[in-house]
Symmetry: D3
Subunit: 193 residues, 6 copies
Amino acid sequence: MRVTALDLGTDGGANGGACEVSEATARYFEKCQEKLGLVPNVLKAYAFDDVKLRAFTDMYNDLMLGASRLSKLEREMIAVAVSSVNRCFYCLTAHGAAVRQYSGDPKLGELMVMNYRVADLSEKQRAMLDFAVKLTERPAEIVEADRQRLRDAGFSDRDIWDIASVTGFFNMSNRVAAATDMKPNEEYHSMAR
Amino acid sequence: MRVTALDLGTDGGANGGACEVSEATARYFEKCQEKLGLVPNVLKAYAFDDVKLRAFTDMYNDLMLGASRLSKLEREMIAVAVSSVNRCFYCLTAHGAAVRQYSGDPKLGELMVMNYRVADLSEKQRAMLDFAVKLTERPAEIVEADRQRLRDAGFSDRDIWDIASVTGFFNMSNRVAAATDMKPNEEYHSMAR
Amino acid sequence: MRVTALDLGTDGGANGGACEVSEATARYFEKCQEKLGLVPNVLKAYAFDDVKLRAFTDMYNDLMLGASRLSKLEREMIAVAVSSVNRCFYCLTAHGAAVRQYSGDPKLGELMVMNYRVADLSEKQRAMLDFAVKLTERPAEIVEADRQRLRDAGFSDRDIWDIASVTGFFNMSNRVAAATDMKPNEEYHSMAR
Amino acid sequence: MRVTALDLGTDGGANGGACEVSEATARYFEKCQEKLGLVPNVLKAYAFDDVKLRAFTDMYNDLMLGASRLSKLEREMIAVAVSSVNRCFYCLTAHGAAVRQYSGDPKLGELMVMNYRVADLSEKQRAMLDFAVKLTERPAEIVEADRQRLRDAGFSDRDIWDIASVTGFFNMSNRVAAATDMKPNEEYHSMAR
Amino acid sequence: MRVTALDLGTDGGANGGACEVSEATARYFEKCQEKLGLVPNVLKAYAFDDVKLRAFTDMYNDLMLGASRLSKLEREMIAVAVSSVNRCFYCLTAHGAAVRQYSGDPKLGELMVMNYRVADLSEKQRAMLDFAVKLTERPAEIVEADRQRLRDAGFSDRDIWDIASVTGFFNMSNRVAAATDMKPNEEYHSMAR
Amino acid sequence: MRVTALDLGTDGGANGGACEVSEATARYFEKCQEKLGLVPNVLKAYAFDDVKLRAFTDMYNDLMLGASRLSKLEREMIAVAVSSVNRCFYCLTAHGAAVRQYSGDPKLGELMVMNYRVADLSEKQRAMLDFAVKLTERPAEIVEADRQRLRDAGFSDRDIWDIASVTGFFNMSNRVAAATDMKPNEEYHSMAR
């Protein structure tokens, strides 16, 4: 199965059955398979070019798995709330599964996909998602009062950076996935239901 | 002058006068100063954390300066047209200057900032920007017909990937800049007018 | 558990534990329990008034279960695509489950919830959903050409009535659910995954 | 004159001159003619199917004429304000006339059609219409604070149900009318001017 | 009765009972009274300053009453279709009446107010209103193809200028009226019904 | 060079090299050349008809240069902020230059073009631009509270009239320019940088 609607060339093969990725990428994919039970299709999509794959994974791993006062679950909640605005099938599927897994609460995953506003969240988490969604929908209208609302809810300036970075990252990924018709691994649909 | 409205911590100082960046970053900034005549404020903003700075610059340098069938000017045109939708002061300023520089045509920079639709472009470049702007404004509505329109205009699937990646990247950067109130270097305003 | 954020009065109790519905309603709910394994919370929400409950179920049963050239699955697909525009947690949950059940295809349910445009549908079904979604988002812009597109795709005028009626019904229900913060039965989340 | 752009079949005739409706419907239409001086075209449009006609009229009559703490005029004001968002020619015409009739104030009818925000209303009625219009335009953004605003303005939870139901009903009817190009009876235009 | 929500100063009095307008304005108002049977409130609103009143009436009279291949009715149809997008109570009321008067067709006035798309118009008039409404809603998206559509419908470049000018004028007037809460003369409501 | 995409007839020539304007217009243009160093293309566009040109310049000169408590710079700031919403290449270019000239601050011109919300303005000027932009984007939603916000910021009712009039004027001009593809004089691009 091709992982995107694009054919990224003879050199890549990342999208075809006969995948000829670099050795480094092959090792990375083995590690994914071991730890996650699958190689996320987004990585296969980037695998036609080692530099691009590495730039993507370096940024992703720092933002979503690196040190931050935002919990991994909170970062995934932002990912899904943002992807819900942009209606990104790939990211809603893959990161909706992540919310279900990290939270152990299947309904929370659904709420982030469907409408975070009706979820029963803490004031702090609601402020975080309100900011992420406004930044997604109307970035030009962000003013100091929006940042202050996050500070009033208990976030530091560094936390604001992290909220902004995760929000920004998924506004990028949602669009790359939409433009290329990237398809999520089938396994995600039934995970942690 | 602080480069963003955020205070990113005691360790960084990236935003203050007394900049205590890592040695690697200091060397990188020296190179910027040498080549560009300035250190772009976006880099100073990321400088509080070497990993984040490197992830950002790796992705940026590959996308905007690496191998691609899109010319550097075309990539900058996408950057500005996208930033115009999102009304990002930082990116419109810095990349508007880049369009003026690469093209030697100050008016083209203004057109990308103000309204790419009234510019006198080739059919191919217009198709490229139409796609980038639709992907920015309504990513959920991208369908195969949109990709086909790019192919009909002469773009390969790999080109589509590059258009999507640059579009995605500025949808990320616009939002990080908006969220943190990032300010462009003053020098950009008068460059290549 | 209350099924909506509203307290619909001492006579109803529909929203509380001590449900004192009319005998007719009690019998109807027993039948629901038997056939569906649950009493949909939307019915409990309406149960404070027998006339309203009957008006709702009469219309619902005719539209979703009555005679029509649209299959039950197609009607549910419209229900979910419309509810996705309106981001209705109740309807996306309950009717997303119905799409999974009728189709035996969990991914199809997810696609209707997330973004019907990326689903691999027949031209005819896509035309049906395109119409339903335009009618939901921009009803004022429906013109004869939109109806003609449905006829060209193979729909009769009576089919158009049915597509319009289902679309209209969920534009109603989505808003009643949103206004009253109606919560879906927990059982739906794991059904037919 | 046909009452909609659709041809709903040989059995109905509801849309043609030679109207062969069921006996029950014929009697109902006679009653309409007697009480209202006309048979509303929406009823003729539904007359091709007795079950659908009855489901529609049962719901309509309960919502718009049944017991409620909202006056009939207030319910008609909601009907028109909602239909103004959706620009529904049928409903603006028929229910604009109803606002003029119930209020004895032709200008009030015009204000509901054109822009309820510039009408000189009580705080309570303005809160009611603000809610109805937000629920129409952005149902996904309704949160508890919106319901609380209604309670603060003097509405009970049951009143909120009624506001939501009328708002929902016209979001349905507006779309059925738009999809089928339903035309209002000519008589409405000059009524109660 | 004040004609706007603004108090435009001791020198004007245009908005109060004790109207002390200049002699020239007084004579102009007498002529209005004679010809129209009323002095339009918009003129009273501008009467606090003779220069502004004259600039407004000069432009208005040229555009709406001067030489043009667009009929006066067509110009009024544009006026109302534009004002409908902007939901301007003043202009919808005053110019809706003008459409009814010029056309002798009360329903046409209502259609322009409510939704011009469902009116039964010639292809040429529909093209004219489609352009006016797009220019009102999304001026940035007007491209050569939009102008060409008007030419294909039979309009000359000069006609396009006139369509654009009338559309522009009401986009101005709608906003001045909205900003100042300008109220139309009561007489308009019942005119030509 | 033609100044618009339209050909406004043999009598005008305003758009061609061989400009045969009336004597009065010729004298007016000489004065423009003398005082501004150029004849703004918008005037050349209107020059095919003396009445239209005079109506336009009378209104423009009163609004932008006549007596008002708004400074000329403030009126130009409104002009550019409004034109930025409408993405009008002509007005952003010509009036962006005016902001740079009046303020002596090239960056302020850029900020108005790109996103006035990130400019470092007084509370009063921000209130002025917030009103102008809301009036541009959502005129139907202006209510008394919006006017009161201006009064609270220190504006009189007459000032509100002036803010509304300038906002209205550019909502007109932006649309005439967009509809006719009006091109700004090249000189503006480098002025006052």
